[in-house]
């Protein structure tokens, strides 16, 4: 028998429809054929594993950004949102944005993600993790792995460093 449990606001914030949709149908998922830069990120606490592949054109624009891996809804949705947000963005601007985003998500204060670097309303959906300290790393894993891929860092990036 189904027993109804009252909806919880912060849980709804975490699992917004947008997050669930990205988790179920992630964008840019899979290894592309000719990627030039690559990195792998793992969260040793939970076993999430994300690989980020990217390509930068002659004007320093990220023209291809893909990922693959296994993880929870938050980490897959976050990686999916990352690929759509950072594709066609200048490398320097993207780096600046990623640092600012990781910094913002890692703090439990209610400040909003800085939209002045890249304006992406969808990214706000990730702010739900702030009420779930144990899930923040799920949201930041792919972004950290992206930074590592920019360096073409074949070393494994972990959330525990």
């Amino acid at each position: 028998m189904k027993k109804s449990i009252p909806e919880n606001k912060s849980l709804k914030e975490l699992y917004r429809k947008l997050i669930i949709n990205h988790a179920k149908h992630p964008l840019n998922f899979g290894k592309p054929e000719n990627e030039s830069l690559f990195a792998e990120g793992i969260n040793p606490l939970c076993g999430d594993k994300i690989r980020v592949y990217l390509n930068i054109d002659e004007n320093n624009i990220i023209d291809k950004l893909h990922f693959e891996g296994t993880g929870c809804a938050i980490s897959i949705a976050s990686a999916s949102l990352m690929t759509s947000t950072l594709t066609n963005i200048n490398k320097k601007k993207a780096t600046q944005y990623v640092f600012s985003l990781i910094n913002n998500l890692s703090q439990t204060n209610p400040s909003k993600i800085d939209q002045s670097i890249i304006n992406s309303q969808e990214i706000e959906a990730l702010e739900g993790v702030k009420n779930f300290p144990s899930r923040i790393k799920c949201a930041t894993l792919s972004w950290q792995t992206f930074l590592s891929a920019l360096q073409n860092n074949n070393k494994i990036t972990t959330t525990e460093r």
């Binding site: 449990i5 929870c72 809804a73």
Partner: protein
């Protein structure tokens, strides 16, 4: 009046087991505005007041160093510590207290055997035999000493139900095997190992057997003599006791021949620069000031389990486990992982297209605590080709209402992902 005293006056039965719940202060609280349902005892069990109070009593009345002082407090501390050893000895039916070494827990116990018993015997012609079911703490210590000595770690397979293939394991035993190290109960799946057959087979080649009892000790009546195990390792915090204390049982004639594992105070009789005389068992393996309050708490936990009655606990938990398995199977998309016939207190599962961490977070929001991920048994997850599972585990304080709350919590998880 605490319920332990009441139990003393009456024969224990399942109703009283349910009544014990009141003794566990951690269980009786709200988490995220819901009464807590604690289904993570396989990771760490909660302590009853009797254990918490004994630790506090020891710390506030009896504390001093053990085996050292001439003064009254040192005698009292020594008495508390050695009484706990005696209780553990009786609890697992060891022959005498020389066979009970206090350690910091199962991991420490296994590392002790790896370094003191196995390592001196290993070379490139030798093997250590484990199973695919093991917790990392019964894998990595063996990998380390095999790497150091050139010995080989061999791994017995498991079947699709998550049970060790006993016959295959037995076929892997020969005289080149220095030790068989296997879990009594799988932490990830709850499967109970056929220890009697395995131990008999190993002994027919004169190969000793270490049993990782971390997950069995609070769920099954353990009798080390009936099992004929050579070593049996377990932790206090998985048997209603505190963290940082555990024990290694070893047959006396084997422990006697083993060199010390760590050097320090208490493990010596005489120290001279020309040579040191080691202390007798069990102190030879207990270098430095031990975890006395932990031992006090563990002794109280043993008392508690004895009063509740291990057979009552087993019956109570089996009833709950059967209900949990039935109820889980009725939920669309749920798949049970670990379906061995002989199983205790643990159920791993997955829900189609929902990652275990999301299950864990949504349940936590309803006050329900389960474990998610690889459960420190990555090879088991690899066998089932899963990144992880959700795992609900039981203890003496769980009841049918917990199972009901848990399964309706899972409906909520599925609703969010619908």
């Amino acid at each position: 009046m605490n319920s332990l005293l009441k139990i003393n006056n009456k024969k224990s039965n399942l109703d009283q087991i349910d009544y014990l719940r009141k003794d566990f202060p951690t269980i009786n609280q709200e988490i995220n505005n819901h009464p807590l349902v604690y289904l993570d005892s396989a990771a760490s069990s909660q302590m009853p007041n009797q254990v918490i109070e004994e630790i506090s009593r020891y710390q506030s009345q009896d504390h001093a160093n053990v085996h050292r002082g001439i003064h009254t407090l040192s005698h009292r501390a020594t008495d508390v510590y050695e009484t706990a050893r005696q209780k553990i000895c009786e609890f697992i039916n060891a022959k005498n207290t020389n066979e009970i070494i206090f350690t910091s827990g199962t991991t420490d116990s296994i590392n002790l055997v790896a370094n003191s018993f196995c390592k001196p015997k290993l070379d490139s012609s030798k093997k250590i035999l484990i199973s695919h079911l093991e917790h990392h703490s019964n894998i990595v210590p063996w990998q380390i000493i095999c790497e150091q000595t050139g010995a080989t770690l061999i791994v017995a397979p498991i079947d699709n139900n998550g049970q060790i293939k006993t016959e295959k394991l037995i076929k892997m035993i020969d005289s080149s095997v220095v030790l068989v190290a296997i879990s009594h109960v799988s932490n990830a799946l709850g499967s109970v190992t056929s220890l009697n057959e395995i131990i008999d087979a190993a002994h027919s080649y004169a190969v000793p057997v270490l049993v990782d009892g971390a997950q069995a000790i609070s769920h099954l009546k353990v009798d080390v003599q009936a099992l004929n195990a050579d070593f049996y390792a377990f932790s206090g915090h998985k048997m209603l006791g505190p963290t940082g204390i555990g024990a290694l049982y070893g047959k006396e004639h084997i422990l006697d021949k083993m060199p010390p594992y760590q050097g320090g105070g208490d493990m010596i009789l005489e120290v001279k620069f020309s040579g040191t005389v080691y202390n007798d068992l069990p102190y030879k393996f207990e270098a430095g000031t031990p975890n006395i309050s932990g031992a006090a708490g563990l002794g109280a936990a043993v008392d508690y389990l004895n009063h509740a009655g291990m057979h009552n606990i087993e019956e109570h938990e089996n009833t709950l486990l059967n209900k949990m398995m039935r109820d889980l199977q009725e939920i669309d998309g749920v798949k049970l992982i670990g379906t061995a016939e002989d199983k205790v207190a643990v159920q791993s599962f997955t829900i189609k297209d929902i990652h275990s961490h999301d299950i864990g977070t949504i349940l936590d929001h309803q006050g329900i605590a389960i474990r998610t991920g690889h459960h420190c048994a990555m090879p088991v997850m690899e066998f089932f080709d899963l990144p992880g599972t959700a795992r609900a585990s039981l203890s003496v304080y769980n009841n049918e209402e917990d199972i009901g709350r848990f399964t309706s919590g899972l409906h909520k998880v599925i609703e969010i992902f619908a």
